[in-house]
């Protein structure tokens, strides 16, 4: 099973590479993101970037979500569009190997990009502030950021695969994915507004009393739970006959 998942990841990463390198828009998008987050921010915010800044954690979730959402819609819907899905399903690979291979490849892509960007930004930050070097966040913050990035990538991967499984076209999967990603960003604000007046105050009071570490742990647990639900839904949705129905 592990060997089969590795095989799927190998193939998916080759496909992701061809999508990214074969699309001018994707290359430009990644280039601009790196310029902003790995060059512009470190130069402008200096040593602040190396501190335990909570915004870094937010970006650690947000950026992989954006990157992964650009490629993950292709996972099943793309195979269906290009008529390669039936051949893949007729192979000896198990349902889980195909599913986890696709999720795993997208997760690796999003997370590796995020780690590369974070390390690059720290490097630029140190190089442009040599007098304050070495600039590095606390180990617990650094580890938390990496975990947040991992969970953010997994969230986008699992969600994207779920949409891609039943979408007839890549475009359809991308549209559904964008709506949910947007909803995910607005959820905290909407949640605050939609809370009954009587609940709002105690909730905010509780949040105020929580320290940063507790909030991070809560976010990690929340994301981990959401990811588990999404993966379980994807496993339940992965039915070979149903996938062929959409062909």
């Amino acid at each position: 099973m592990i060997a089969d998942i590795r095989t799927m990841i190998w193939k998916e990463l080759k496909e992701i590479y061809s999508i990214v390198m074969g699309t001018k828009g994707a290359k430009v998008g990644i280039g601009i993101t790196f310029l902003i987050f790995a060059v512009f921010f470190p130069i402008n915010f200096g040593a602040d970037l190396g501190s335990d800044n909570p915004f870094i954690m937010f970006f650690a979730i947000w950026l992989p979500l954006v990157w992964v959402s650009t490629i993950i819609a292709d996972s099943f819907a793309g195979e269906r569009e290009r008529k390669t899905l039936e051949t893949l399903l007729a192979s000896r690979l198990s349902d889980q190997a195909i599913l986890f291979g696709k999720i795993g490849a997208a997760l690796l892509y999003g997370w590796c990009m995020m780690v590369t960007l974070y390390l690059t930004s720290l490097l630029v930050c140190n190089l442009t502030n040599l007098e304050e070097a070495p600039i590095f966040p606390s180990l617990s913050f650094f580890a938390g950021t990496l975990i947040m990035g991992l969970l953010g990538s997994l969230l986008a991967s699992a969600m994207g695969v779920l949409f891609s499984l039943r979408a007839t076209t890549v475009k359809q999967a991308q549209q559904s994915m964008s709506l949910v990603v947007m909803g995910f960003y607005f959820l905290p604000f909407l949640g605050g507004m939609l809370l009954p007046e009587s609940w709002r105050k105690p909730v905010f009071e509780t949040l105020k009393t929580m320290d940063a570490a507790t909030i991070v742990i809560c976010v990690i647990v929340f994301l981990a739970l959401v990811n588990c639900v999404l993966i379980a839904a994807a496993i339940a949705r992965f039915k070979r006959p149903r996938l062929l129905d959409n062909e």
Binding site: T7, K14, I19, K83, T84, T87, S91, R240, P241, L244
Partner: protein
């Protein structure tokens, strides 16, 4: 070889209100090329999907290499290779990577993969182009590469859905030769669907004809041709006229008689012989030079079966 590669019993598949495959019962021995013939929408692809365990039959049973299609789809897919309706190639990847991927899927070691890929691509004339992205290739080249992918792990049975569709005659003939060699050298069982009846005639040891999901006939091509051919006869000679045609048409063992290009064309009822008819013609003063019976091609046999089925409906 006398073991059974595929066995189906009352195999039926319904899609909502449409019956795609209707009570199909077949036994396919190992080590032969089995042709599954039928017009578009006959149920050929659905049958292949059921045999691969990709869709579940509504009724009936089927086993492939002793494995039940309902519960042992993974075991079946592990042992067979399939070239389905589309080549199923990753066109943004180089040819070699396509084979590398499926070599890994079938757990060939790195050395085995390298050797087998070189062997197959050399044999199919694609070795020099292995680094090229498949996207720009012709349909014939893609189909050859897809065939290489199917054969990569040396499966004991392969399913081929219209493997030569859309190919030029040279490429189609090359693929036919490869398949024939495969069966000859490696004893692989081939389940082949095709519209090309000449191809089926050349390649298949047994054929089944299917229409609207129903099996019309099954057997060696010669036997099927013989059955249909034995119902037609042409008589070369002199003196044929309308009166003779009328007397022939009134016989119980003749369904129709016509004069075409000075020859008498007779359609026989059932398996009746020509001797009594020739005797009658001679007694009526005809001069008979040659009697020729039973030379229908598989295509003629197929069309006759289709017409009969349509008439019965």
């Amino acid at each position: 070889m006398n073991s059974i590669a595929v066995k189906t019993q009352g195999l039926t598949c319904d899609f909502k209100t449409v019956r795609a495959v209707d009570n199909l019962s077949l036994e396919i021995p190992s080590g032969i090329v089995f042709g599954f013939l039928g017009p578009n929408g006959a149920g050929k692809t659905t049958t292949i999907r059921m045999l691969l365990g990709l869709i579940e039959p509504t009724h009936g049973h089927a086993s492939v290499m002793g494995h039940d299609v309902r519960n042992e789809g993974n075991e079946i897919r592990t042992r067979v290779g399939a070239l389905l309706e589309h080549p199923g190639l990753y066109e943004r990847m180089p040819a070699e990577d396509n084979l590398q991927f499926y070599g890994r899927v079938w757990r060939l070691s790195s050395k085995e993969r390298e050797e087998r890929i070189e062997e197959l691509l050399t044999h199919l004339g694609l070795w020099e182009r292995r680094k090229e992205i498949v996207n720009g290739w012709s349909r014939g080249m893609k189909q050859k590469l897809a065939l290489a992918r199917v054969l990569l792990h040396r499966p004991s049975m392969i399913f081929l859905d219209e493997p030569t569709a859309g190919l030029d005659p040279v490429a189609a003939a090359a693929i036919r030769d490869d398949l024939a060699a495969l069966v000859e050298n490696e004893g692989t069982t081939v389940f082949l669907t095709t519209h090309n009846l000449t191809e089926a005639e050349k390649l298949c040891h047994q054929v089944a004809m299917i229409r609207k999901g129903k099996l019309l006939d099954v057997g060696p091509p010669d036997e099927i041709r013989g059955k249909m051919g034995s119902r037609k006869a042409s008589v070369a000679g002199r003196g044929f006229n309308e009166a003779v045609l009328e007397s022939l048409r009134s016989r119980d063992d003749v369904t129709n008689a016509e004069i075409q290009d000075d020859n008498l064309m007779i359609e026989l009822q059932g398996e009746g012989g020509m001797a009594p008819i020739v005797k009658m013609l001679v007694e009526n003063g005809m001069e008979i030079e040659e009697v020729h019976k039973g030379s229908a091609s598989l295509e003629e046999a197929f069309l006759t079966l289709m017409e009969e089925e349509e008439t019965e409906e």
